[in-house]
Assembly symmetry: C2
DNA sequence: TGGGAAGTTTAGAATCATTATAAACTTCTT
DNA sequence: AAGAAGTTTATAATGATTCTAAACTTCCCA
């Protein structure tokens, strides 16, 4: 686990990405990376910030989530037309998506074997392979 | 190919789903199913209808796409936060998603082998497994 | 060390896909 | 042929996200 000094990593990544370590970015990074992996929406992070007395506008939350995604600190997941999720786990892995609750759950890369991928269409390069297992809560 | 009489199927499915075969539904079905598989957005289908002199409101296009999806005539694909695609190919298969152009391309089920799926979280049932290979156009 | 350039944040407006509303219209059944 | 049920539609509403432009910070170097 390299979570021991979460900020060292964040600071370094911000530097790499030419993003100034502002109060807002650092506070959001703290919320995002301090406690294990999570899947969070912009709105939810904004509320969490408010609850933690961090004053940040929703626009900044959106900007920051996108900048962190570009910098490789987050991964954006689209499974549901109504909102985007941001995953703090950027390593290779997949997801269960609970269609009723809207919850996402990680699946470690080793738990799914995708073999025999077809070649990428000519003139293109594979950016990512997403496997989403959509599950529904059993009625009973 | 069972495309020889596309309407027999549509009519039957509409009947099964308790949907009246209205002028609008039939016209949209014709546009959707008459020429091989396609991936289309509501907006695009609405424009196509207009171009074909079929008068349908956008609200009806949305309603119809959702009803057809429930009836199993279409499959909804979410790969991009900004719009939903509807796929006229409802058989088991996967997709390439061209991130730049927003285009979707089918991958036959046999071309990808997903083995060793983890068990669905308890209390849930797998509704579908989506594999999306995101590709980017090579710059060059 | 101070001042300006560059980068950042923000409130609020704008956008855009989608959904809701409720009145007018069709279709079905008898 | 008539009423009930189902549909369509224009229009308004919603909600997530992005834009704008002004105020604010941070950085840099003379």
């Amino acid at each position: 686990m390299e979570t021991s000094r979460p900020f060292a990593r964040v600071l370094e990544q911000l530097r790499k990405a030419d993003l100034r370590p502002t109060r807002q970015r650092l506070a959001l990074a703290k919320l995002l990376f301090e406690n294990g992996y999570r899947h969070i929406t912009a709105e939810a992070l904004h509320e969490e910030a408010a609850a933690a007395d961090v004053r940040v506008s929703l626009a900044t939350v959106y900007n920051t989530l996108h900048q962190f995604t570009e910098a490789g600190l987050l991964r954006e997941i689209v499974v549901d037309g109504t909102r985007s999720y941001f995953d703090t786990n950027t390593s290779d892995h997949h997801h269960f998506f609970h269609e009723v609750s809207g919850r996402l759950e990680d699946i470690a890369a080793e738990q799914i074997v995708v073999s025999e991928l077809p070649p990428a269409p000519s003139g293109t390069t594979v950016a990512r392979v997403d496997v989403i297992i959509r599950v529904t809560e059993d009625t009973q």
